[in-house]
C-alpha cells in the first residue's frame, strides 16, 4: 500500500458496526477508509453471535443501547431491500418456566416499551403451544411480539461494505493497526500494509478497541470479556422452533434458541471467562451446558442434531454504567470517536452508525451529502431458495447455475464464481457468502471444487489458498513434488 493520500475519516474495524458506519459515511462527500485486520468484513466477533434483531427489552431503561435499538426492525427491512440481502422475519417469544419468572416478562415488557417498542402480548400456555408446539409444557406464560428478524451477518457485512465501496469507500482488508501518531492535526496509523493518514478516526475495533484506544493515548479504557458458546443444528430439526425463544439470562448464560436466516437453528449462549482475547476454544463441557439450555426450552432437542459449535467473545466496557454502550469522542485525542459496544450490537448497528456520523460532524467533519450516492446494491440469485420457475429462469440465463458444487446446500458454480469475483478470496469468504460448506457434510465434498475455483479465478497456486487469511493454509504442498518441479514435457 505504501503511503496513501490522507483520508477524512478512517474507520478501524469492519465488524457489523464498522460496516454500517462506513456505509453511512459513504453517503457524504469526502475520502473514507475502512480497515479490517481479518481477511473479510465481519470475520471477527460479528459473525460469532446469534445474528438476531431483537426488541430492546433487555436494555436497561434510559440506556443508550436501548435508544439506539429504536425502529431497528424497520430499518433492517429497508436496508435489506436496498442491499439485496436476506432478512427473515420472525417473532420474539420470551417464556417463563416458573411462576417466579413471570415478573421477568413484565419487566422486559416495561423496558421494551420505554424504548419505544410496541405490540407486546402477554400470553398463556395455550397460546404458547399454538405458536410454538415444541416449547416445554413447563412454560407458564410468554411475552410475544411479532415483526423482528434474523439475518446472516457476513452477508450483511459484505453487502454494506460493497455498497460503500461502490460509493467511494476504500477498503483495506488484512490490515491491522500497530501504532497511531498525531501529526499536523491528523492521525498517522502504522499498519501491516503501510501507513495511513486520517483526520478523524472511528475506533470500531470491537474486542481490540481497548488496544486502539491505548495507541491514541486513552489508557484507561478497559474491556471485560465473556466467551459464549453457540450451537448450530441440522435443518432436519428446523421445524422445532419458529420464533426467537428466550428463557432466562444471567452472567453465565443467555438462553436463546432461534431460526437462522438460512433455515438452521441456533442455540446459545453459555458464558465462561476466556483465557485471553484470542481464546475461541469450545470444550465438551461448554457444549453440554449449551445443549442443556436448549433442552430446557425444547425438550425434544437432541445433541445428535448439532452440526457445528463455535464461540464468540462479548466485551463490555468500563466507561459506561450498567454495561451500556460507550460511544463518545475521545477525551484525550480530538477527532477520535470510540465505539465501545457489545450486545445488542447488531440490532443497534443502524442507530450506532447514525450517532457516530453525528458525533463526527460535531467534531468538525464535513457535512455535504453525496449527490451521486447509490443506495442500492444488487446481490446475486441464490439457487437453493429460488422457486422452480425462478430456478429455470436463472439456469437458462447462466448455465453455470446448473452446476451444483455444494450438494448439501445446493450452491452452484455460478454463485461461487460470483462471490470470488466480488472479493471472496478465502475458503471461509466463499463459504460465508454462498453457504457452500455450511451443510450436513461441512465441506467434505465441496471444499475441493471451491479450492479449485479460487485457484482458477484468482490465478493463484493451490498452496496459496487459505481458510480465512494469512497462516491458515488449506493444503501444504503437492504429492510427487520432485516430478512437478521438473516442469512439463520432461
Amino acid at each position: 500500500m505504501g503511503e496513501t493520500g490522507a483520508y477524512d475519516v478512517v474507520v478501524i474495524g469492519a465488524g457489523i458496526v464498522g460496516a454500517m458506519i462506513a456505509r453511512e459515511l459513504s453517503k457524504i462527500e469526502g475520502r473514507f477508509a475502512l480497515l479490517e485486520k481479518k481477511a473479510f468484513p465481519c470475520f471477527g466477533m460479528s459473525k460469532a453471535g446469534l445474528s438476531q434483531i431483537h426488541l430492546p427489552d433487555f436494555c436497561p431503561p434510559g440506556s443508550l443501547k436501548g435508544r439506539l435499538c429504536k425502529d431497528a426492525p424497520s430499518r433492517f427491512r429497508m436496508l435489506a431491500g436496498e442491499l439485496d440481502v436476506a432478512y427473515r422475519e420472525v417473532g420474539e417469544l420470551w417464556v417463563a418456566l416458573e411462576p417466579e419468572q413471570v415478573a421477568n416478562l413484565e419487566a422486559a415488557k416495561t423496558r421494551g416499551e420505554c424504548h419505544g417498542a410496541k405490540g407486546y402480548e402477554m400470553i398463556g400456555p395455550e397460546r404458547i403451544r399454538e405458536i410454538e408446539p415444541h416449547v416445554t409444557p413447563k412454560a407458564v406464560a410468554g411475552l410475544y411480539a411479532r415483526g423482528l428478524g434474523v439475518v446472516y451477518v457476513p452477508e450483511w457485512g459484505f453487502a454494506l461494505v460493497e455498497n460503500a465501496v461502490q460509493n467511494g469507500l476504500h477498503l483495506h482488508l488484512q490490515t491491522s493497526v500497530s501504532g497511531i501518531e498525531r501529526e499536523n492535526g491528523s492521525y498517522r496509523l502504522f499498519t501491516s500494509r503501510g501507513t495511513i493518514t486520517g483526520k478523524f478516526l472511528v475506533n470500531a475495533a470491537g474486542i481490540h478497541s481497548d488496544e486502539i484506544a491505548r495507541m491514541i493515548g486513552d489508557r484507561d479504557i478497559r474491556l471485560d470479556l465473556r466467551k459464549g458458546t453457540m450451537l448450530i443444528f441440522d435443518k432436519a430439526v428446523s421445524h422445532l422452533v419458529h420464533n426467537m425463544i428466550y428463557g432466562t439470562f444471567s452472567e453465565r448464560h443467555s438462553q436463546d434458541i432461534a431460526p437462522t436466516a438460512h433455515g438452521n437453528l441456533i442455540l446459545g449462549v453459555h458464558y465462561v471467562r476466556p483465557e485471553h482475547k484470542e481464546d475461541r476454544k469450545v470444550t465438551r463441557q461448554d457444549i453440554l451446558e449449551t445443549v442443556k439450555l436448549g433442552k430446557e426450552l425444547i425438550p425434544v432437542l437432541s445433541e445428535k442434531e448439532v452440526i457445528n459449535s463455535f464461540s464468540g467473545i462479548l466485551p463490555s466496557n468500563n466507561r459506561a454504567p450498567n454495561g451500556d454502550f460507550y460511544i463518545a469522542p475521545s477525551e484525550q485525542a480530538p477527532g477520535v470517536i470510540h465505539v465501545l459496544v457489545g450486545a445488542p450490537g447488531l440490532t443497534a448497528a443502524p442507530g450506532i452508525a447514525d450517532l457516530v456520523v453525528r458525533l463526527l460532524r460535531d467534531q468538525g467533519m464535513m457535512k455535504e451529502e453525496k449527490k451521486s450516492f447509490q443506495k442500492t446494491r444488487a446481490g446475486w440469485p441464490r439457487f437453493e431458495s429460488a422457486t422452480l420457475p425462478e430456478k429455470l429462469r436463472i439456469v437458462g440465463q447462466n448455465p453455470k447455475y446448473g452446476h451444483v458444487l455444494c450438494r448439501c446446500e445446493q450452491v452452484t458454480e455460478a454463485e461461487i464464481l460470483e462471490a470470488i469475483r466480488r472479493g471472496a478470496d478465502t475458503m471461509d469468504g466463499v463459504k460465508h457468502l454462498t453457504r457452500a460448506g455450511m451443510g450436513r457434510c461441512q465441506g467434505s465434498f465441496c471444499s475441493i471444487p471451491v479450492l479449485n475455483a479460487l485457484v482458477k479465478e484468482l490465478g493463484v497456486a493451490p498452496t496459496w489458498v487459505t481458510k480465512n487469511g494469512a497462516g491458515s493454509h488449506q493444503i501444504v504442498g503437492y504429492t510427487k513434488e520432485a516430478a512437478m518441479a521438473r516442469g512439463p514435457g520432461e
Binding site: 448439532v306 452440526i307 451444483v404 445446493q410 475441493i448 481458510k467 504442498g477
Partner: protein
Amino acid sequence: MMRTSHIDLAVIGAGPAGLAAAVEAKHLGVKDLVVFERDERPGGILRQCIHAGFGLEKFNEELTGPEYANRYIKMAESWGIDISLDTTVLDIDKNRTLTVVSEQGGLRQVACKSVILAMGCRERPRGALGIPGTRPAGVFTAGHAQRLINVEGYMPGRTVVILGSGDIGLIMARRLTLEGAQVKAVAEILPYASGLIRNVVQCLNDFAIPLLLRHTVAEIHGDRRVEGVTLVQVDDRWNPVEGTEQFIECDTLLLSVGLIPENELSKAAGVMIDPKTGGAYVSDYFESGVEGLFSCGNVLHVNDVVDNVSLEGESAAYGAFRRIKGLPAESSVISIEGDETIGQIVPQRITGLRDVTFHLRVKRPMKKFILQVGDRFEKKYPYARPSEMIWVKVPGDIFRDVRGSIIVHCEETS
C-alpha cells in the same frame, strides 16, 4: 416451461452400486434407463480408493478401486448406458418424478417407472462430533483427504494424527506416509481396531505407526492452522480418564469416525429411514416403503466389501425390472427384527415367498455363536465383528405360514 421426459428407470449415482444396477437392468432387458451422477466422472468413491482389495469375489482378482470401477464402466459402455455426468438430482417426489439439473442439460424433470437410489454416503464431520478446541485449518475428514491426495495431487499436511481406526483411517495412514508425511498416531476409541486386521498390519505395523486404542481427541489446538492435538484415554463408557492427556504436535488432524448414508433425497420422497442403518427400510426386492423406489449400496447401509455392493445393485435392478415389466407385486408381510445382539439388518421385511439373503452386522464382537432366524433356521459361526458384514442365505420355505415378525438373534455357545 420445464421439460419432462419419461423413462423406465433412473439410477441415482454412478458408483459401484449404481453401475452394477444399471448393467444388470440392461442385462434383464430394461430399455430406457439413465444414470445420474453429480461428479464429472463415473466410479463414485472407487475413483479415489486407489488401494487394492476390491473384486476378490466378483472377479477373483485383487483389484484397486479404479480398476474395479473400470470393469463396470466398460460394461456400461458396451451396453450403451446413458450416464449423465455433472448432473445433480435436486428432488424426487413420491410419484418418482425427479427434478434434475446440469450445466449442459439445464433444469428438467424426469418421470420414471422405477428409481434406484444409489447415492452412497457422507462422512461424519468435526462439527457433528463436537471435538473441543479451536477451529483452525488442517482438520479434514479422511475421505476428503483421500480425494485431495489421490485425485487432486494435493498434500493436506506434513505431520498427521488420525482419529478412527476404520479402514479409511488406516488406508490414509499408509497413503500419507508413502507420500512423505509423518503419521504420528492413529487414535481409536474402542479397545480394538475397527478396520480389517490386514489393514492394521499393512498400514500401521509396516510403518511403525502407533495405534492408540481406547483413546480419543480431547482438544484441537492452533489459531490459524492446526498446531497439535491433545489425546486422552477413555474408559468403557467413553469418558475421558483424567490425567491421561497427551499433547501431540501436528499440523493435520484426519477424522475417520463414521459414514452416514446420504438419504436426503430419499426422505424428500417420503422414504422411511431405519435408524439402525441410516438407510431405507426395504423388502427382499430392495424396494423401499415408497412404491417404485429401490435402494442399494452404501445409501442403504454402509458396506465393507464392494463386491457385495455390486450384488445389492443387481438385486435392486431385479426388483426395479419386475415393476417395469408389470410383474405382480408381492407384499412383504413378514417383518424382520434384529434383537440387541444384532446391530443392523436388511431387508427389514420380506415376502416369505422365496430365498432371502440377509445382510447384517452383530452389535459387538462375538466368538463361536449360532445365528438364529426365529426358531426356523440357524447357522454356526466361529467369530464375527461389527465391522464385517455377514451375508446369510436363508431358504424361502422356512417362512411358510409365518405372519407378523421374525426375530434374528445371535446366541454365543462358548
